[in-house]
């Protein structure tokens, strides 16, 4: 299964705008999403179900797993935005729901 949903495509399109980086998003015949700019070719697709992550991101032929869209965005931005210094943060240090 390679199809990335329409919401993901839209997120990638808007992300390029938000990060002010050049590039365009296109859907491949197999449903994967591709981003192309002058320097990089990126392919984003659903990971096969037997793998322990949801997505794979291929940048210039190098394929890596991404456990969630958070990781997909990080990898895409690292590839496209030379000014970006990834700061990995974790938000959830308390229970996600209130204790009773």
């Amino acid at each position: 299964m390679t199809e990335a949903g329409e919401h993901v495509r839209e997120l990638l399109v808007e992300s390029l705008v938000a990060w002010r980086v050049a590039g365009s998003v296109a859907r491949a015949a197999d449903g994967a999403l591709g981003i192309a700019d002058a320097r990089k070719v990126i392919r984003i697709e659903r990971a096969p179900p037997h793998l322990p992550f949801r997505w794979t991101v291929t940048v210039d032929g190098r394929k890596r797993g991404a456990i969630s869209l958070v990781a997909v965005l990080r990898q895409v931005r690292e590839a496209l935005d030379p000014r970006y210094a990834a700061k990995r943060v974790r938000i959830a240090v308390t229970p996600l729901v209130p204790s009773q």
Binding site: E10, L11, E14, V17, V70, V97
Partner: protein, 337 residues
């Protein structure tokens, strides 16, 4: 009915510096029981009124504009209306008014209005001006944001907040505060808790005790500045969702915002209907790089159970934020509860 002039105190401070948290604490103190509150939020969806417990009839929210410019004339009218309601016994017999400005407000025209407007002259008098300063982001904010410098400069009292996150206030922060306003005592609030008697006890506002800069700002003409006072790159918008949001989706959403936007999120606050806790909404706060763990309300403050997340951000497009929440929500839809 007493016709003594009623003091109007102004609570100001940059976005996310702890104004509302401190005000919420103060309003629980007995000596603040006869206080009317006016809150000005810079955003299309106001939330502070949902998060402050105050008598409804003496509580007014001024939305969708900033007191210092667009709705400045509304302030005089609001105060006049408030006095009329008091005179007619249609609200609590308050003997103090507190105005909480938006975090982006230039305080000078607000103070000028309170000192000179003829519609309220004689009935109201400008009392203390209190400015909150976030000890975590304080230095960076003071360096980058001219408005925050003015907010500090006009203060009678400066209140440092978030020292629990920042540790003891750094010498650089004190040096900045001292350079802007050497005369104002610096107090400390602990999660909003502060000696209520020390906050608004400075008496009536006296510009003669302030710096020459402050005196110049207060004597400027009262022309309308429109939005020119504000950085044009700063936008405010709200994300509203009627459907509850999964807790894990909210977590991932905030994680991306902190990672990709950081200092450009000047302020984020929201009340969120969490799918796993629909009776107890989560209140979320973020300021620049600092996102606080959610606080849980015991119940919804009104019948509106939609999630509302307000952003005040610099160059962070609303469409990206909306697309992010949609995509993450879809991604986690099949995650077991």
């Amino acid at each position: 009915m007493s016709m003594e002039a009623i003091p109007v105190s102004v609570l100001t401070g940059f976005l996310g510096s702890g104004k509302t948290t401190m005000l919420r604490h103060l309003l629980r103190q007995p000596e603040f029981s006869r206080t009317a509150v006016i809150i000005n939020e810079f955003g299309e969806v106001g939330l502070d009124h949902e998060l402050i417990e105050a008598s409804e009839d003496s509580f007014i929210e001024l939305q969708t504009g900033c007191l210092c410019c667009k709705i400045r004339s509304d302030l005089s009218q609001t105060l006049a209306d408030l006095l009329r309601r008091r005179d007619e016994g249609r609200c609590t017999l308050f003997d103090r008014i507190v105005i909480e400005t938006s975090g982006l407000a230039d305080p000078a025209p607000i103070l000028q209005t309170l000192m000179t407007d003829s519609t309220i002259a004689g009935r109201l008098v400008l009392g203390s001006v209190v400015t909150t300063v976030d000890a975590v982001n304080g230095v960076a904010t003071l360096v980058r944001e001219e408005i925050s410098q003015k907010q500090v400069a006009v203060a009678d009292r400066i209140v440092l907040t978030k020292l629990d996150l920042a540790g003891p206030a750094k010498p650089a922060l004190h040096a900045h505060l001292n350079a802007l306003n050497a005369g104002a005592p610096v107090l400390v609030a602990d999660h909003g808790r502060i000696d209520s008697g020390a906050v608004f006890d400075a008496g009536f506002y006296d510009p003669r005790t302030k710096s020459t800069n402050v005196r110049a700002w207060l004597s400027e003409g009262s022309h309308d500045h429109g939005n020119a006072r504000h950085d044009g790159d700063i936008k405010t918008y709200a994300i509203v969702r009627e459907e509850p949001i999964r807790a894990v989706a909210l977590t991932l959403f905030l994680e991306v915002l902190a990672e990709h936007c950081g200092g450009d999120i000047l302020r984020l606050k929201g009340i969120v209907n969490i799918a796993e806790s629909t009776d107890r909404p989560a209140v979320i706060h973020g300021v620049q790089h600092v996102f606080h763990p959610p606080a849980w309300l015991d119940r919804w403050p009104s019948d509106d159970r939609s999630s509302r997340i307000v952003f005040i951000a610099r160059r962070v497009p609303q469409r990206w934020v909306e697309a992010l929440l949609e995509a993450i929500g879809e991604e986690v839809a099949d995650v077991p509860t």
